[in-house]
C-alpha cells in the first residue's frame, strides 16, 4: 500500500519535528533483515492519538517508534542498526 | 454508641464467582464482622465521586460458620447497583457493607423442622445460607428445598445443591423450570402453585417450618397457598424481594 510510504506522506511531519535532517533521504540499515534503504521507502503506521511507527518495507521490522505526550517526544530507534545522513556542509 | 450492625464497614472483595450467566457471588472479608444468622442480609452502599449514593440489601449466602461473607447478586438489566456489583466490581476492590440485618427470617439448626424452603430465582440465596449452615453443623433435620428458576442454566448453586442432596438422605432438592427446560427434563415445568405444594410440602400435621423467598408475586402466591393447604400462618415466614429494586 503505497500511501503508507514515508515519501510524500504527511507522517514525515512529526519526524521532521524531532530530527533536524531530511528524514526521507536518510539511509537506514534494518536491525531485522540487515538491508539498507532510504527511509522514504519505509512504511508508516500512524496510530491516531497513540504514535507513529515506521517499518522496514522488506521485513516489517519497526525502525522508528515515536510517541508524543506531556510535551515530550519519546523515540525508540532500536530497529535501526545504522543511520546515514548527508553532511550538508561537506 | 451506634450498634455495631448499623456501622458501615469497608469489606475487601477477595473473590468473584460466576454462578449463572446473570448471577455472581461476591466473597468478602469484612473487618470486625461479628457473625450472622442464616437468612439475614446486609445493606451495601455505593458512593460516586460527586457524593451520590445508592444503597441496596443483599441476602447473605454464606453460613455463619464460614470464614468469609458471601453475597450472591442477580444482575437486573435496569438496575443501578446490581450491574455495578456483577460487572464492574472486582477482586481487590472494596465495598461498604452494614449488618447483619433481620431477625425474623432466620433459621438455626436447633429450631428444628421439618424444614420447607421455597425460593424463586435469587430468593434461594438466604435459603442457601440455611442449607450451608445445616450442613456445617451436621444437622439431620428433614429438609426440602423447592426452587423455581427460569431455565436449567439459571439455577443458582445447582451443582452444590446436587452435592448436598446426594450425600444427605434427609435433604431433598426439587426444581421447577418455568420458562424453558432441557430436552431430557422430567421435573416440574411451571410456576409454583397449590397443587405442586401439596405434592412437595409435608402435611400440616407434621408442622413444617416454612421459609419462602423471592419476587413479591411468588411469595404472596406461595404463602397464601400454604395457608390454604392448612399450614399455620405463624410457621410460614416470608421475605419479598423487589421492594427496593436492583
Amino acid at each position: 500500500m503505497d500511501e503508507r510510504r514515508l515519501d510524500g506522506n504527511a507522517a514525515a511531519g512529526p519526524l521532521r519535528e524531532v530530527f533536524s535532517f531530511e528524514v526521507t533521504t536518510a539511509e537506514y540499515t534494518c536491525e531485522g533483515c540487515g538491508k539498507t534503504d532510504r527511509l522514504g521507502t519505509a512504511m508508516v503506521y500512524e496510530v491516531r492519538g497513540l504514535g507513529t511507527i515506521v517499518r522496514c518495507p522488506h521485513c516489517d521490522h519497526a525502525l522508528i517508534r515515536l510517541a508524543h505526550s506531556r510535551g515530550r517526544y519519546r523515540l525508540d530507534l532500536r530497529g535501526i542498526r545504522c543511520l546515514q545522513v548527508e553532511d550538508v556542509a561537506g | 454508641m451506634p450498634l455495631s450492625r448499623t456501622l458501615w464497614r469497608l469489606a475487601d472483595v477477595v473473590e468473584v464467582v460466576p454462578e449463572t450467566p446473570r448471577t455472581k457471588s461476591l466473597v468478602l472479608e469484612v473487618p470486625g464482622w461479628e457473625g450472622h444468622k442464616a437468612g439475614q442480609h446486609v445493606d451495601v452502599r455505593l458512593t460516586a465521586e460527586d457524593g451520590y449514593q445508592a444503597q441496596r440489601s443483599y441476602s447473605i449466602a454464606s453460613a455463619p460458620e464460614d470464614e468469609r461473607l458471601v453475597l450472591t447478586v442477580d444482575r437486573l438489566d435496569d438496575g443501578e447497583v446490581s450491574p455495578y456489583l456483577t460487572e464492574v466490581l472486582m477482586v481487590g476492590d472494596k465495598l461498604e457493607c452494614r449488618g447483619p440485618i433481620g431477625g425474623y427470617f432466620t433459621w438455626e439448626a436447633r429450631a428444628g423442622g421439618p424444614l420447607l424452603l421455597i425460593g424463586g430465582g435469587s430468593g434461594v440465596v438466604p435459603l442457601m445460607a440455611m442449607l450451608r449452615h445445616r450442613a456445617a453443623v451436621g444437622s439431620d433435620v428433614p429438609t426440602r428445598l423447592l426452587s423455581s428458576s427460569r431455565s436449567y442454566e439459571e439455577i443458582i448453586y445447582r451443582r452444590e445443591l446436587e452435592h448436598l442432596a446426594a450425600r444427605d438422605g434427609a435433604l431433598e432438592v426439587i426444581h421447577t423450570l418455568t420458562r424453558s427446560q432441557p430436552a431430557s427434563w422430567s421435573g416440574y415445568h411451571r410456576r409454583i402453585d397449590a397443587e405442586m405444594l401439596a405434592e412437595v410440602a409435608w402435611s400440616p400435621e407434621e408442622r413444617p417450618l416454612a421459609f419462602v423467598c423471592g419476587p413479591t408475586p411468588l411469595v404472596e402466591a406461595v404463602g397464601a397457598a400454604l395457608v390454604g393447604l392448612g399450614h399455620a400462618a405463624a410457621r410460614v415466614k416470608t421475605e419479598r424481594f423487589g421492594a427496593t429494586g436492583g
Binding site: 519497526a62 505526550s69 519519546r74 | 460466576p18 460516586a48 443501578e80 477482586v91
Partner: protein
C-alpha cells in the same frame, strides 16, 4: 461531601445515558481500528496459544484444542486511551483463569506476546480472578483480523491497548517488562478510572 468510601467506577443511574464513562472519555458508535503495523493473517492451522516463562510446565493449545476449552460470553465496556469508549461490547472466549489452571508460578507479571511485534505487560493479578479472557468472537461473529482475530486478549478494566490483538500467548515473568506502548511513555498499568494514560499520571 457525604461520608462514604468512593466506589471505583460507580456513576449511579442519574448519569445515564453517558453512564459510567471514565474521565476524559466519549461514547463511540463505531469500532475504530488502530494499528501499528500490517494486519497479521495467521492461518488457523498454524495458530497456537502458549503459556510459557516462569512456569513448571509450559502449556500449548492448537486452534482446535483452544476452541474446545470452556468458553463464556462476556459483555463489558471498553475504553481506549485515545478517548473513545464503547459500552456493552459482547465477546466470546476463554477465561485466562482457565488457561492458567494448574499452573504453578512465582511470577507476578505477564507479557502478552502476539503475531507481529506487539507486546503488552500486566500484573498477573490483573489477568486472573475473572478479569481477563482470550476472545475469538465479537458480537456473535468470529473476530475479524483487523480487530485482532483469530484471537485477542480482553482486559476490559484497563485501557484497551492492554487487550492485545493477535495474541499468541502469555509469558509469566518475575520482573515487569514494559511492552510496545508502555516503553514509549504510556502508563505501565493503565487504569481508565484513574486516567492513567502516560507514565507519571
Amino acid at each position: 461531601m457525604r461520608e462514604g468510601f468512593i466506589s471505583r467506577g460507580f456513576g449511579g443511574r442519574r448519569r445515564r445515558p453517558d453512564t459510567q464513562l471514565p474521565p476524559g472519555q466519549y461514547l463511540e458508535d463505531g469500532f475504530p481500528v488502530l494499528s501499528a503495523g500490517p494486519t497479521p493473517r495467521t492461518p488457523l492451522e498454524a495458530w497456537d496459544f502458549s503459556v510459557v516463562g516462569e512456569v513448571d510446565e509450559p502449556k500449548r493449545w492448537t486452534w482446535e484444542e483452544f476452541k474446545r476449552l470452556p468458553s463464556e460470553e462476556i459483555t463489558r465496556d471498553i475504553h481506549c486511551v485515545t478517548k473513545w469508549s464503547k459500552l456493552g461490547t459482547r465477546w466470546e472466549g476463554v477465561s485466562v483463569d482457565t488457561l492458567l489452571e494448574g499452573v504453578e508460578t512465582a511470577a507476578e507479571y505477564v507479557t502478552a506476546f502476539c503475531d507481529g511485534d506487539y507486546t503488552t505487560n500486566l500484573p498477573l493479578e490483573d489477568v486472573t480472578g475473572g478479569k481477563a479472557w482470550v476472545v475469538y468472537a465479537y458480537e456473535g461473529e468470529p473476530l475479524e483480523p483487523i480487530h485482532g482475530g483469530p484471537a485477542r486478549l480482553l482486559v476490559p478494566h484497563l485501557y484497551f491497548w492492554k487487550s492485545a490483538k493477535w495474541v499468541r500467548g502469555l509469558r509469566l515473568i518475575a520482573d515487569d517488562i514494559p511492552g510496545f506502548w508502555e516503553s514509549l511513555g504510556y502508563h505501565n498499568y493503565g487504569d481508565p478510572w484513574r486516567e492513567q494514560r502516560y507514565w507519571g499520571d
